[in-house]
Subunit: 285 residues, 2 copies
Amino acid sequence: MRDLWYSEKYEEDVKFSVKVTQHLYSEKTPFQQIDFFDSKTFGRFFTLDGFMMVTEKDEFIYHEMITHVAMAVNPEVKRVLIIGGGDGGTAREILRYKTIKKVDLVEIDERVVRLCQQYLPLTAAPFDHDNRLVLHFQDGLDFVQTAKNNSYDLILVDSTDPIGPGEGLFTYDFYHHCERLLSNVGILINQHESPYYESDAYEMKRSHAKIKASFPIAKVYQFHMPTYPSGHWLFGFASKKYDPIKDLKSDKWESLGLYTKYYNTKLHQGAFMLPTYVKEGLENV
Amino acid sequence: MRDLWYSEKYEEDVKFSVKVTQHLYSEKTPFQQIDFFDSKTFGRFFTLDGFMMVTEKDEFIYHEMITHVAMAVNPEVKRVLIIGGGDGGTAREILRYKTIKKVDLVEIDERVVRLCQQYLPLTAAPFDHDNRLVLHFQDGLDFVQTAKNNSYDLILVDSTDPIGPGEGLFTYDFYHHCERLLSNVGILINQHESPYYESDAYEMKRSHAKIKASFPIAKVYQFHMPTYPSGHWLFGFASKKYDPIKDLKSDKWESLGLYTKYYNTKLHQGAFMLPTYVKEGLENV
């Protein structure tokens, strides 16, 4: 019987492996290597350059946490910019809000979108069904450099790690333009790496230093993401005006009646209460 | 060059692997298989029946979280019972409180204690240095069945999974006796498995049903434990009187001046704010 395993190295001496029932598709684009697999425990999943991006089993955790935290702080958000997120999961969650007028999604690699439409409808469905969503196949840094001031209420940076195509999204220049594009109540959420393994923790500190220098409010929140290295993952919450805890509108958010499998407004508050070693890592930057 | 990997299966089709620089020791006792390894990323670690128990890199997370949550709710605790915990890490943390008068540690397998004394002084040091600690090499269920009413203020169940020697510690009989042994302000903390992989989630629900039936207050709190399956792990907090949030004594605990790398009194509160799917799993038992 065929015994095929996908393995991902968390460090040179640490790896996570999943038995693959089928290797569905593989393509090398000008930007990255894309692969789709099926597995028993995680269902279908896809990888970019050998890093697990989305699995059917736990994508809801990442996509709920990148989206609903900001929306519960400012349920008035109308104009959204998603940088990355070519799988569609972040767009799917944000488009659940009827109040959202427009979502620009800027994905550098059109093939990610097209292949997710074909192989991962669980996340990619909104690409076909929602005309509030506009796709831009373009580099995220280029996009923000040329966009107009005060164009968005919310920016969601759903990027890969700062190696390869995601690199420009972890720079001062990028965060500066995000600040410029946001309205005076604007919020920026970004994929903020992890505190545990050394290389992830290094990037966590680097991003935080840059975001802190670009926004008056810059906090970090955590969640349990079992298919990412260590399972301990972070998002950044940066804003011009709103504090993620003091300005949380629990009653308002709950009145919307959105069912979420991971997010809730209590967890929202808990997610900002970080372990001491993580707080120290973020303070000493 | 030798290429030796320790692998642990989280499910039949999911595994976590660590490159081993040295396999230091291996012994089969009447209770279980014990192994000690060295590795670059995690330092020294040991396994029981092939499951990772303690690594030098992240043992502080588990041992701080099993101990300080209860102590910050009742800093008056004097008499402690530890069931399991043969590595010594839980005893080390609890003995940092000068107010503790006596700790009974009941470990079924003396070899775990002796080998940790030899190979893992980071956790096993208190076995040599603290005469408030009394070791009992005995089955935990037998111990609680014969101990007197009202003997302890705090019971910490630092057990393996409910397969093998830890099995009796996940029964109604065991929790009933814990309740009997505790004073009227007593607290029980137990290793409560994980919500993510199917077999762990099954045990999480089973334990919770039994504890809820045995104590008026039964809550669950979470933490990020990267070397346990999924990295999403839980402890149970059961008590006769104290609520873990309403009765948290943050000022009192902070006045003790204990430095902790993971635990803090804000995180304490956040740890009880669980994802929706975990809450649902615990409610439907």
